[in-house]
């Protein structure tokens, strides 16, 4: 894979400089550290601060959703690396308006380790912090072991719900409750068609053979559940949607929102071919699609592949999903 780079080790720093230059009215760095970013108008008076973080290489995750109606701050790590607890703490202090802070991030060891420590440091400074983990990847652990699941694109729905609830003025406890409810109703499953090259490494760090695919591969190349010859869009979609339906125990008459996500290299055209089949299948189950998102939401550098996320919604969750937002990488009227 050819890349447009200067110094590979400066990949993240130069990206962050560019993003801050592109969105000067929406984002600002905390204490001059570009790895600690908050909304330009942070802290928002009286509002629960929603904070996230994680490694780089997944844009629009994580920093792209910092803005009105979604997140207040983000700690940005190196490629596929957790940010530090210090960066998380400085973001936490900057977004806290006295109403407390909610951490929402993907369930990965390094991130949990550092965010838990940041929460402990914040508590020592008198800031109340609660945590809801994104653990939506059904392929990463079986039913009954949901706590071991990794967080992938479905975290978008958690951001959406938590951000809308916080913007509405709900208390920290109430924002936590509705975000946990959203997390319990969200599932994702993906397929990878190619490996990725970390800029500082220069060659792929795992393998997906030409002509093959890996169902359930993680966004850092974690092993999936099945490798095979590349199948058709409809065959792939059937497997992803039916697995999600079973895991979520979706029933006729229920309502969902669907997110079809590119892992980086797969173009929007192919995503719509996937969505077409997903909609057909869900309709066949008697499940109605209340809202659809199709595009790049959580990528893995230039990985080819896609994921499907489904959140079962009631009127409360749907109203939060439908709330308008305005962030550097995502706007919903």
């Amino acid at each position: 894979m050819q890349k447009i780079l200067n110094v590979p080790t400066e990949f993240v720093n130069e990206m962050l400089e560019g993003i801050l230059e592109a969105y000067p009215n929406q984002l600002k760095a905390v204490d001059g550290d570009n790895h600690a970013l908050v909304r330009a108008d942070a802290p928002v008076a009286g509002k629960v601060g929603i904070t996230t973080g994680g490694g780089s290489g997944h844009l629009p995750l994580f920093l792209g959703y910092v803005g009105k109606g979604m997140l207040d701050g983000v700690a940005v790590g190196d490629v596929f690396q957790s940010p530090t607890a210090e960066q998380m703490l400085s973001v936490t202090k900057k977004v806290d308006a006295g109403a407390g802070v909610l951490y929402i991030y993907g369930n990965y060891g390094g991130d949990v380790f550092n965010f838990d420590f940041a929460a402990e440091l914040a508590a020592a400074e008198g800031i109340r912090v609660e945590t809801v983990l994104g653990a939506d990847d059904v392929a990463s652990a079986p039913r009954g072991e949901e706590a071991r699941r990794r967080g992938i694109a479905g975290i978008f729905f958690l951001y959406k719900v938590a951000g809308a609830a916080a913007a509405k003025g709900l208390s920290l406890d109430d924002v936590v409750a509705v975000t946990k409810k959203a997390a319990a109703q969200t599932r994702t499953m993906g397929v990878a068609l190619s490996p990725v090259t970390l800029p500082a490494v220069g060659h792929p760090t795992f393998e997906v053979k030409a002509g093959e695919m890996e169902i359930g591969m993680g966004i850092h190349g974690e092993p999936g559940i099945r490798k095979s010859k590349l199948e058709t869009a409809d065959q792939i979609t059937d497997e992803l949607v039916s697995t999600i339906r079973k895991d979520l125990d979706l029933k006729s008459g229920e309502k969902v929102c669907v997110l079809v996500n590119s892992l980086g290299a797969t173009p929007p055209e192919e995503l719509y071919i996937i969505f077409r089949q997903a909609k057909k299948l869900l309709t066949g189950y008697g499940v109605s699609v209340a809202r659809a998102y199709v595009g790049e939401f959580a990528t893995s550098l230039e990985m080819a592949g896609a994921s499907i996320s489904v959140i079962r919604v009631d009127d409360e969750l749907l109203s939060y999903v439908n709330t308008p937002v305005h962030t550097p990488f995502f706007t919903q009227a």
Binding site: E86, F117, E120, A124
Partner: protein, 195 residues
């Protein structure tokens, strides 16, 4: 300087003078950056001493915060966690009681944060015997001496253990035969504390 801040300075100096050894041990099984981390922890310890007020609780908390700032790696964070948990545990009691409480709380906190158990070739395999030796002591001097010996024995024993955590966990048996670098750091700390 109080005996507390003098002890912390002594530990910082010991970490710095052993950094090459930590680096070599860590290179066998890990990233090889534990020498740098130990140096950064020493910086954090010194920064904490510089801001110490004589209030043990506040001073331990400050040291933990400074280590977190100066050594943001996994090992540094675990080390910082130990001080922060110790800060919460100490009381108005005399030194021996406080070091018993502090080290026991540090062990519990690090085990919880690192999600590791004994026998998995981590720093816990040196810290646990050190804490146990302290709990059985009736005076500070003999307690610290026994803790240093126990930490050393514990660190040496990790050479026969299979790793489960970090990069050492992926390469399995290659790590065996050498003692765990993190456990060695703990042994060096307690050896610096003995008189």
């Amino acid at each position: 300087m109080s005996s507390f801040t003098t002890s912390i300075e002594t530990v910082a100096a010991a970490l710095e003078s052993n950094s090459k050894r930590f680096e070599e041990l860590d290179s066998v099984a890990g990233d090889g950056d534990l020498g740098i981390t130990a140096g950064n922890i020493a910086k954090g310890l010194r920064a904490g001493v510089a801001g110490a007020t004589g209030d043990l609780k506040a001073d331990l908390m400050l040291i933990g915060r400074e280590i977190a700032k100066n050594a943001p790696s996994t090992f540094g964070t675990l080390f910082a966690t130990g001080f922060i948990r110790a800060a919460a545990a100490v009381t108005e009691a005399e030194a021996l009681t406080n070091i018993k409480l502090g080290v026991a709380a540090a062990f519990e906190g690090i085990a919880a944060r690192g999600k590791a158990a004994l026998g998995e070739r981590t720093l816990l395999d040196a810290l646990h015997p050190a804490s146990k030796a302290l709990q059985e002591a009736s005076d500070l001097k003999s307690g610290l001496n026994a803790a240093a010996a126990a930490a050393r024995t514990g660190a040496t024993a990790t050479a026969l253990m299979a790793p489960k955590h970090g990069r050492a966990g992926w390469i399995g048996e290659r790590a065996q035969g050498n003692e765990d670098a993190g456990a060695t750091v703990i042994a060096v700390v307690f050896e610096a504390l003995q008189s």
